[in-house]
Every structure is written in C-alpha cells, then in structure tokens.
Point group: C2
Chain length 324, copies 2
Amino acid sequence: MPIPRDFRVTALAGGVGAARFLRGLVRVIDPASLTVIVNTGDDDEFFGLSVSPDLDTITYTLAGAVDSSKGWGLPEETFRCLTALGRYYPETWFGLGDADLATHLFRTQQLREGKSLSAVTTAIAQTWGVRSTVLPMSNDPVRTIVHTEAGALPFQQYFVKGRSEGQVKQVELHGIDTAHAAPGVREAIQSAHLVILPPSNPIVSIGPILALPGVREAMRATSAPVVAISPLVAGKPIKGPADRLLGGLGIDVSVGGVAGLYRDFLDTFVIDTQDAAQQHQLEQLGLAVIVTDTIMSDMEKSTMLARVVVEHEHRKKWRVESGE
Amino acid sequence: MPIPRDFRVTALAGGVGAARFLRGLVRVIDPASLTVIVNTGDDDEFFGLSVSPDLDTITYTLAGAVDSSKGWGLPEETFRCLTALGRYYPETWFGLGDADLATHLFRTQQLREGKSLSAVTTAIAQTWGVRSTVLPMSNDPVRTIVHTEAGALPFQQYFVKGRSEGQVKQVELHGIDTAHAAPGVREAIQSAHLVILPPSNPIVSIGPILALPGVREAMRATSAPVVAISPLVAGKPIKGPADRLLGGLGIDVSVGGVAGLYRDFLDTFVIDTQDAAQQHQLEQLGLAVIVTDTIMSDMEKSTMLARVVVEHEHRKKWRVESGE
C-alpha cells in the first residue's frame, strides 16, 4: 500500500538517535509532510554563542549534510577556532567545528536581533534546503540540569564534559514552568496522521518536550496513532546515557520501563528483536508491539525501520477507516 | 648612548604601518615602557562579532604572532568558518581566519558582559604575553565613514570591500562628539619621555585619535618631544589609501602635506631618503627633520628605523637636560 503524499507525520526528537531514524523516514514519506519537534533542553551557551545541539543534528541530518560517522556536526571538520579559544578560555571541551561555528554565529546574531528561535531554526533549515518543518520545542529557554552526587550539572557538562559519569539523582528542567510550546508544536501533534517518538532519550530528549504545557495533553488528545521506537536494546542505549538516567530515577531500565513513561498516550511500541521476550508484557499494557531490527547502522536500515513503522500505522489506519 | 630602561615611549597607532614600526621599537626600548594608543575608528561588526582590526594587528605584532607576510591576522590561517558563513550571509568579504575568530568571540562575549574595550584589550594583550600597554583610543564607539561619490561607506567597506576605490569627498568620524579618550590615553601622552606617530594613515588612523576630546591638547602640552614618521614615500603610502584620502580632502599628497596636519604639536619629522629634497621646506616649518630609510621591509629595517628615532630624541633630550 503506497503512502500518500499528504500523509502527515510529526516526530518528537532529541539528537543523534532521532536523526538516524528521520534520515530513513524522509525516504519513506514526502519530506515536506514531516514536522519535527526538537528538544532544546540540551541547548547551552559556549563562548557567547547560542548552541542548539539537537536542532543542528536534526537539520544537518535532514539536509544530508551531517557527519555520518559521528552522527552530529559537519563532515571533515577542523577545530582551529576551538583550539585558539583555548588561549582565552580554560575549557574547550565542547566540540565546535570551524564550519559548524557559522551556524552558531548566525543563530546567535539573529537571536540578539530579536528573532525567535523558531524563526532562526526555519531560516537555518531553509538555508540547508531542508523541506521538512523543523520546530524547536519552545522559544523560551529550558535547561536540563542533571543532579548527580557530584552536584548539579547543565546537560552538556554532564554528558560531554563529564561523559555521563556519576550516579544520577534527579533531572531538573530549569525554566519549564514558565516556558510555552513553540508556535505550531501542539498543532503539529494534533493535525498529524501519525506521531512518532524516534529512539531518543526518554528523560532528557523526549521528556522536556512532553513537559511543556499542553504537549502531553496534545499527545493524549490527538486522533493520530502514536508510535515510539525503543531507545533501549537489551537494556542498553545505542548511544548516550539513557540507561544511567532511567536507572538513576528509579525507572526500570527496559523496554517496559520506557513504555511506562509513555503509556498515557502510546499506541504502538517498536522494540528490537533482542527484546522479543518482552512483547507479551508490553501487549498486556494495551500496546500494539512491533518486533523488528531497530539498530540503524546505515541508511538502508534506517529506511527499513521507518518503512516498517509507517506502513504498519498506515495499514492500521486504513483498516479502521475502511471498517475492515 | 644606551636607552635607559625607564625611557617611556607612547605611540599613536593605526594598523599594519604602525605595527611594522613597533615590532622594531620593542627591540630598541624595554617593551614594558611602551604604551600604544590604537585607533578604533576602523572597528566594525561582522556576523555579530565585534572586530577591532587595528587593536588586533598591534597586539598580534607585539606578541610576535602576526602573519608577517600580510602584516595582519595570524599565520597559516584557514577560512573554513568564513566559507561556511557564506551559506547564511550574502557578504563574506572581510577576512576572518578560523584562529583569529577566537579573539573576536572573546572580545564580543566580554563586551556583552559589560567589560570595557580597554579591559578586554588588556586581557587579550596579556593572553598573548604582550608586555607593552595597549590602549584603545576610546571605549566609546567611533566609526570612520568615508564619503565617496558612491555614497557613505563605513571604513572597512570602503577599504576592504571597495578596495579604496571612488573619489573621496569627506571623512566623517561618527560618534566622535560624544566619545571620550579611554582611561590612560591622555596620561600616556603627558607622562611619556617620547611620543611617536608611526607611519600610519594621518586621516583614518591618527586622525580619529587626535580628534578625541583632550588628545590634541595633550599632544600640544606634553613636555615629551613628538616625532612622526611619514606614511608617504615619494608621494605614495607603502600600504593603504593615505594618498587617496589626503588628495580627496584637498591636502597636498606629500611629506609637507602630512607635516601640516601635525604642525601644532610636532617636533621632529622622519622622512624617507627618497623625499630628501623636501627636508629644507620642512625645516622652514620649524621642524627637526630626520632623513633615513623608512621602508620597513623586514624586522632588521624596522629595528634600524626605531633606533634612529629613539636615539635621536634621547640624545636631544640629554643635550637639553645637560645644557650642552
């Protein structure tokens, strides 16, 4: 059954894990029918520059411009400016490549001139020829702070500088109480034919988006099926500290633990064949379960996974609508 | 006669021409006894970054770090960020190297945090191990605007983008009426044993410094001898548009024309051997004249010229003080 061109998909995304899925998704659906709502809780300021790691990873990936070996940044990067910054600053652990710096300079200048992060994100995406809609989750600053036994660390300090070490005690979303979802975020969830949670970190990537006022409600209220792809395979994330964060917060480090975080709005959960043994348990939560290969080691595997997800949901939707 | 270590010299400086002289001067006097007052009329903002071309040229040169072939910027520069900025901005004609960008990022961030340009300049100079005192002429923005038949152009647009083309009609120092000399500027002129105007552009490099309230008065009032080195050799500048600017403003494009701009405070004028024929005319203005090789094509020639200047003035001062 072919996917119609107007089959609108909305994805909630963190960085590399989500991007790996989305690069396949835009080969399965019309890229112009995709809206990506991107976490900005990881945003930070380095050397006076406004850096939005997840937004850039998604945009560079959708543009086909990302460094595919790292999954973020631009290919064949050099770090001459960062090295030179070491003369002025004691810490240069956040890897800003020379070409990538242009994006941060542009974003910083545009924000200083009073543009919203939404407007800047749209301009950056258009500059790179991205046909999908890329939305920051909010135009208000939300900063994810990871509390470990060593103290409270802004996310990039915990993740990049601290290499996700230290027992996690709490995750704080600084600013979330006064932040609003960016224009278009709730609408994109409500008007979609399918809502997807790619395999992003449920605590620090998907969590901040869902915590914005009205977003979780929109996820519950949308008539579109909601599908999540497990970020855990055999109890481990492919990349990043999802296991440490889940474990630190007392959540079971398993597909069941992740599904529990989404159970109020989730329809279908996609798990890896390595976790097939947990299919029955998930079905008992009332979820449809897809068991497939979720490890997206290359573009072909990303595309296959996206196709499995989209065709499953489109077929289901078609069955419901046709009364089969 | 050896130069004593506490022989304090203050120089008023533009960019490359001044820097070529100063690199020699700090081999003749104690670098810690040198104060350089640097033009900031050429400053501009590119991509949201506060760029101070003359300050950086002086600092990099005094640090022995400048690209000696160009006379500005850092050696073996790459321009990957600038190339990438071309994706976001229509114009990337101002050459910002990747390593050099670190200086602009640092300055921009410090200024945004409320530091003065003086404080940032001191921090940058210290970072580079410069022992001399580098002062911006002012902490207030002064912007040199060159009016040509094509319109009013900020200096870098006239000089770098426009390659100094177009008939100059007027030079405007935007902001000069409300600007103050930076702390230490007038004091450095008044307390020096010797004040030097290296071969900088008299209109757009030395001119803005002298136009600041109280600076020209300090030049007249200082008990130190004031020496200028002609930026013209046989009616032409070694670099830059001094001839076009002088000519456009109706000033004689000659050593006499330059001397006339400084005659209210100048004691000694250093001219090139190619201009020896004009020595007598300059002496008739009441100036002491040094005729020597002023083309500083290498470090040795810079040092020789600095030695001629310093020893001449130090000897003269010694003669006056000893009553010879």
